[in-house]
Symmetry: D2
Subunit: 343 residues, 4 copies
Amino acid sequence: MVIVMSPGSSAEAIDEVVNAITDAGGEAFVSAGVARTIIGVVGATDVLESLEARDLTQHPSVAEVLRVTSPYKLVSKENHTQTSTVMVGNAPIGPSSVTLIAGPCAVETPAQTLEAAQMAVQAGATILRGGAFKPRTSPYAFQGLGAAGLEILADVGREVGLPIVTEVVDARDVDIVAEHADMLQIGTRNMQNFALLQAAGAAGKPVLLKRGLTATYDEWLMAAEYIAQRGNLDIVLCERGIRTYEPSVRNTLDVTAVPVMHDLSHLPIIIDPSHAAGRRDLVLPLARAGLGAGADGLIVDVHPHPEQALCDGPQALVGEAMDELAQLMATLPALLGRTQNAR
Amino acid sequence: MVIVMSPGSSAEAIDEVVNAITDAGGEAFVSAGVARTIIGVVGATDVLESLEARDLTQHPSVAEVLRVTSPYKLVSKENHTQTSTVMVGNAPIGPSSVTLIAGPCAVETPAQTLEAAQMAVQAGATILRGGAFKPRTSPYAFQGLGAAGLEILADVGREVGLPIVTEVVDARDVDIVAEHADMLQIGTRNMQNFALLQAAGAAGKPVLLKRGLTATYDEWLMAAEYIAQRGNLDIVLCERGIRTYEPSVRNTLDVTAVPVMHDLSHLPIIIDPSHAAGRRDLVLPLARAGLGAGADGLIVDVHPHPEQALCDGPQALVGEAMDELAQLMATLPALLGRTQNAR
Amino acid sequence: MVIVMSPGSSAEAIDEVVNAITDAGGEAFVSAGVARTIIGVVGATDVLESLEARDLTQHPSVAEVLRVTSPYKLVSKENHTQTSTVMVGNAPIGPSSVTLIAGPCAVETPAQTLEAAQMAVQAGATILRGGAFKPRTSPYAFQGLGAAGLEILADVGREVGLPIVTEVVDARDVDIVAEHADMLQIGTRNMQNFALLQAAGAAGKPVLLKRGLTATYDEWLMAAEYIAQRGNLDIVLCERGIRTYEPSVRNTLDVTAVPVMHDLSHLPIIIDPSHAAGRRDLVLPLARAGLGAGADGLIVDVHPHPEQALCDGPQALVGEAMDELAQLMATLPALLGRTQNAR
Amino acid sequence: MVIVMSPGSSAEAIDEVVNAITDAGGEAFVSAGVARTIIGVVGATDVLESLEARDLTQHPSVAEVLRVTSPYKLVSKENHTQTSTVMVGNAPIGPSSVTLIAGPCAVETPAQTLEAAQMAVQAGATILRGGAFKPRTSPYAFQGLGAAGLEILADVGREVGLPIVTEVVDARDVDIVAEHADMLQIGTRNMQNFALLQAAGAAGKPVLLKRGLTATYDEWLMAAEYIAQRGNLDIVLCERGIRTYEPSVRNTLDVTAVPVMHDLSHLPIIIDPSHAAGRRDLVLPLARAGLGAGADGLIVDVHPHPEQALCDGPQALVGEAMDELAQLMATLPALLGRTQNAR
Ligand SMILES: C=C(OP(=O)(O)O)C(=O)O
Ligand SMILES: C=C(OP(=O)(O)O)C(=O)O
Ligand SMILES: C=C(OP(=O)(O)O)C(=O)O
Ligand SMILES: C=C(OP(=O)(O)O)C(=O)O
């Protein structure tokens, strides 16, 4: 059950509804969106029935009470037919723009991060990416600079005037990451780290949720629902390639996810052609494919000196490929009937 | 080893080279292309060494002798750096056009086939598709009209003025299919039916080779090589979706195949968004994704009455979706810097 | 619809039933089993209804008329609750034995084949395997000796006193293979080569049907149904590993297939630990796992000189591993409550 | 680099070696095993070179200094050729026993847990399992009783005299779980939750590490290495089925993992036939298959009233199946040359 409050409902009105729910034995999850507040209700069937009997639509601030039948409720398109626009700092991700997020895979040094950020700006990025906590398959690989990396990224973001997105891999780090970042990233390996999803959902910052390596669409939306349940509907999905049998690429970008997710959910969806293929030469073709399929944006790795990168150098754009990316961002959004995000 | 003959080499010159190869204990496969003849040599290392010692470049009609190191030789891009253009009747498939192949999944009746063909023409198709021999998972499903279906399709092709492509599923049927069709289609289930590949390679008609359900890129190119070895380089690859874990679509279109195949091979590649998703609503988004990735064309199912279709009705385009397809064909090729194929 | 004839029904009685079916517009597939004849009926719903109205149970030789609801009918367990025993020459494959099929992956020379056959006999094999027509991913790999290989294998089989099983890859070769072999093998790449399945079904010899590389259980049983429809119920399923993401083995043996197939179908099922793993060191552990799961037998590659093998040498058993296999065959069947097949 | 200390090395000796490592700029991970202490060294190439130059073998308590070449070091078999025995309370898991872990999927009530534990004991279990923190795909599904569940499980374990294993899903819960449990379980969804792996590694209790749904063997061993690096070598691997395309079972048990893991690593490996298939009727056949492949034990779901289970009822053993399991535990270990674990 989901309760949609009228726009401008007061904190008291919201409290009254929450109390009604908890009195009936249910749990209430309050999602304070930009336009209005949504209250998700979780509980056994008898709880829901008793709440229905009490008819919360009688409450003056309740706009609608919905029984949602899809397994995901708050992120479903059933009661929210338009794709949402999620604001990251002052940069929108949604149906009327094509948003470019770019930056280094990992924050290594202030100089490298600044150079990469300047490359990102020049290509048309409106959000800066960069990893401080890196989830690495091997414990012997570079694990990121941690808190120091967060500070470098935040400084560089301020310097170039872009909001920042960065990955969080441990629920215990959510607070410190949320202090520095404008958007929290949940990586592919953590898509079903439910404790982390819940902590990120409660942090008050938009979340970029990457798809698990072999997750189904339903599993992915269920993961988003874990975030939404903590009161946060500012979620952007990110398709980043799935595991297949093809050995010549790291993963296989699943463009079908784009129209299907737009059909099932109101969340915007972007694609990550860099982590998908793991190969620089495929980033631009895959970016065009993703936008052709209707993606709301791109997240792309760039690096001033990929051959020295501590992480995923072979996929980082540099040189001419950056000009091609800038060209794509300068022309494609208009062709797709979307306004490019002016900075 | 591959021997490239000079343009206009005589039949005698070709015979001389072939004899030199067989004398040395090798096997020669002659590929008489439009522009020039290519002779593939297969043999053990000592055979190849003895041929090298004989230095066939001395022969006046031999333009080049190439030792190819990739596992596929005749279809590799190593010695043939431009994407080829394959002519199907008078319709090109290649780098300077976006070719639309459309028609019914299965030929059912003359009337249905004609209606579907007219829909195809209107949308901008330059080649007509239609299945007469249908490979069906269940022996109790409609298996196609067979030879009678071939005749219907050929008649309709003549009536609307389009060359036709149709699937062949049995090496024993290659002759009769080649008699009627302008292009032979090898289906996903038969990608490693090597006897069929060889028979199709010897039939003197271009071949559309669909990718196996979970085939790697190398396995796919090896299958193409089986065709090429029989003297036929007029091969078009078709990406039609791979098996993944996602239950809400039949298969998952792998757009990465497009740039990778263009990188590895000189064969053109088209995509089949209809068989990939198995869902009408996804055909157009996937078509745009495939063309964004650089595909040389599309093959699309259309049906005048999908609800009555004997095969794959849910994926057949009809009504407004056809207008959208026509619109896409009228505008997208130019945007991609390709000339739409005028009829 | 499936019509089960009474034991000992005359040819005339069978003809009468077939005529009744074709008169009603249906197609009849006669399966003359050891004990009794089964007639499969294929046709549209109205055909089946008209046949039902005629009530064939009135015919004195008709024992039963069954409407089968599973997608596969003749191979389903629904009307045939015991696992069948398939005789290959004088060697049974079925629920009361553990049958060992062994021999070289490919027939290379008479001497190599004889040596391998003697190794097979010593380990307890009651059927000899050996490939004459080899389906190879690359057209440049050894494709088998063809007809000459068949003759070598048949000669060796006679010499050591074992019936033989060998692969057929082309419907046009079914006759010549059936002339020499006691059992036809359909390989993993041809599991959905429907023309080949039908030809093999009509050849009058038992068929060993390997599972496709990523086939579902239903697709596999449907492939078996294509064979059964041609009147041949002497089918043995063979699980030989499925494609997974693990790079250190060629394929992954799916032991779950064994109990599930025994649950869905009356066909016996054996496992091929050699082609599954592609590694000699894993053949015995996987053989034990397969038998633990309830498999009715094993098919195993052996070679006197694996380092010289023209095909799949790394998986061929030799030396001590053969003793271990013999030991397993001497003890395990009794532990499993099965009689080892005495020769 | 891995430094193996002589048996009985003093705490001072260990400190001296650790100091030498950190002085050189490396990180040291101390693993105090039963027999001897192992110190893993992580650091850049120059750190390792400088340490090599210092030649730690000169230290009187250093038995060996090993440069390990496999990507996992502490869990590799390279320097530890025998399979380890991990003690869980007084129950061994290792090469000389077949250990049965059994209990309810989720702890629901004291009565249900006690009944399930008594069933487990009767079948021969020496360790009790039960989930208090349940990782569920949907946020609307039963998430386990949490801390209250831990207490129930610990009480029941004491009552029936079995050590207990239970899952931990959040690094912040490791302490409380370690307080109650004799072994920590890391679930399939958390195999690459590196923060959780590290926290579990530092908790001083043995760890049961389930394989990720589509993890490769290397990724799995790398995850184990994250645990080992925190000084804990008491790790047991658990194969619990991988994701495949087969819809009639939940997952597909990969028995090949058993011999391959025994080949690559010294860690014991058990199988979970319950979570693999998700079907009660397949638990026993898969258990036999896994033991046939050489598994060191089983973990099995049992429930007194599966039809009322809050989690995974369809896979829980009950009734006759329990007798069959008891029978298997009473006879199979001896046949496999292993002593059944007497309680
Ligand atoms: C690690 C990253 O991505 P993923 O989680 O998709 O692998 C990343 O974007 O830095
Ligand atoms: C059957 C067809 O396609 P595929 O082989 O890709 O399934 C078809 O195009 O008609
Ligand atoms: C080629 C063979 O097997 P598969 O078809 O299982 O690969 C074989 O058994 O020789
Ligand atoms: C959830 C469990 O298993 P898995 O992590 O293998 O799904 C379990 O054993 O309770």
